[in-house]
């Protein structure tokens, strides 16, 4: 999922201060799962903003809505009935959702309520960790299902650096050394010959080095 965290209240308050009414728009996908911008978080933030501005003697009207997805135009269209009733939109989606709302409603100021972080997985309740950087040319098949791009601090492709100690990375003892994980898994699977294979220098163009990326599926384009 795409993970995100709510911005500090001070920043959000500054964003919406010039407006009398806002649409607080959540997203029912990734940010719901990482408890940053789903229906519940929309409710909590709406209450917080309403109480803050009420106390400040400058009441703020907050309309709450949570779309199925904010990164698809079909769902963003659903805001059409609310958009004219508000001065601005505060989006609790990831950066993709914020941009889609901004594109669809060019005359309405749109602000992000979240800081979008990374593509990650849930390690345990309340803990999410980075797992993928969208490099565009997946090597997980060679590395025992552990990504050296997202999980090795140096993004090394052919074994660990000298900073690997007792299975941990030198940047932080709470960070696993990706290459230790890769080796352990290859060994457990009897696939250590995969480790001997030298991976060539990575072409970063599919990973964004060639500018903004897009996927075009000719069979689906209408």
């Amino acid at each position: 999922m795409i993970t995100a965290e709510r911005k500090p209240m001070e920043e959000l308050i500054r964003c919406v201060k010039p407006y009398r009414s806002i649409l607080l728009a959540g997203c029912n996908e990734c940010v719901t799962v990482c408890a940053a911008g789903g229906r519940k978080e929309v409710g909590v933030l709406a209450s917080a903003l309403k109480m803050h501005f009420m106390k400040a003697g400058q009441p703020l009207e907050v309309q709450e809505i949570t779309l199925e997805r904010q990164c698809d135009p079909e769902y963003v269209d659903q805001l059409v009935s609310n958009i004219d009733q508000v001065d601005a939109v505060l989006s609790m989606a990831c950066g993709c959702g914020v941009q889609e709302v901004a594109r669809r409603y060019p005359n309405k100021p749109v602000f992000p309520a979240l800081n979008t972080k990374f593509m990650g997985a849930s390690e345990r309740q309340g803990v999410w960790a980075e797992r993928c950087q969208g490099c565009g040319d997946c090597v997980l098949g060679y590395t025992g299902g552990v990504c050296p791009v997202a999980r090795c601090s140096k993004q090394l492709f052919n074994g660990p650096c000298g900073g690997s100690s007792n299975g941990k990375c030198e940047i932080d003892p709470s960070v696993d050394c990706a290459w230790q994980l890769i080796w352990d898994r290859l060994k457990a699977l009897g696939m250590t010959e995969s480790y001997e294979e030298n991976l060539p220098a990575k072409d970063w163009r599919p990973g964004g080095g060639g500018g903004p990326r897009r996927i075009i599926r000719e069979d689906m384009v209408i």
Partner: protein, 145 residues
């Protein structure tokens, strides 16, 4: 604010604090009528949104009362509730309402006296803090027209 009577919402776990409140009643112990009890199946059921909406709708203080450490009927609902209350305290400080308006308490079903004392102490604490500032502003705005 001389006549200020705080509105306190108390989310009480069915297995401890709610029964303790019942016990306080059976023991004829007095506690302030300001405390409005909402029975929940576990303090872990109480979410940030319940507390925030209570305050938004006019509560001056909210408390979550769960089981003693290690005694939760659902293993660790009370620990989760305590974490949420800590999170809410920070959020309420950030928005200027004040984190001290929210509190987590722990007690067992047999602690009727503890319930009555806690309810009294918390009510007095909120009375000293004064009314929820968002509510005051809202009432002033309505009075102004």
């Amino acid at each position: 604010m001389e006549n200020f009577e705080p509105v306190i919402v108390a989310f009480c776990c069915h297995y401890c604090a709610y029964t303790a409140a019942d016990m306080a009643g059976s023991m004829r112990l007095h506690y302030p009528p300001n405390v409005k009890i909402i029975r929940v199946p576990c303090s872990g059921k109480v979410d940030a949104i319940h507390v925030m909406k209570s305050l938004e709708k006019g509560a001056d203080g909210v408390c979550v009362a769960g089981c003693l450490d290690g005694d939760c009927h659902f293993k660790n609902g009370n620990v989760r509730a305590a974490h949420r209350v800590e999170y809410l305290k920070k959020l309420l400080d950030e928005i200027g309402i004040g984190g001290e308006r929210v509190e987590m308490f722990a007690m067992s079903a047999g602690m009727g006296e503890r319930f009555a004392q806690t309810a009294t102490d918390f009510t007095e604490k909120i009375r000293k803090l004064g009314p929820n500032p968002a509510k005051v502003a809202h009432q002033a705005q309505r009075a102004a027209g």
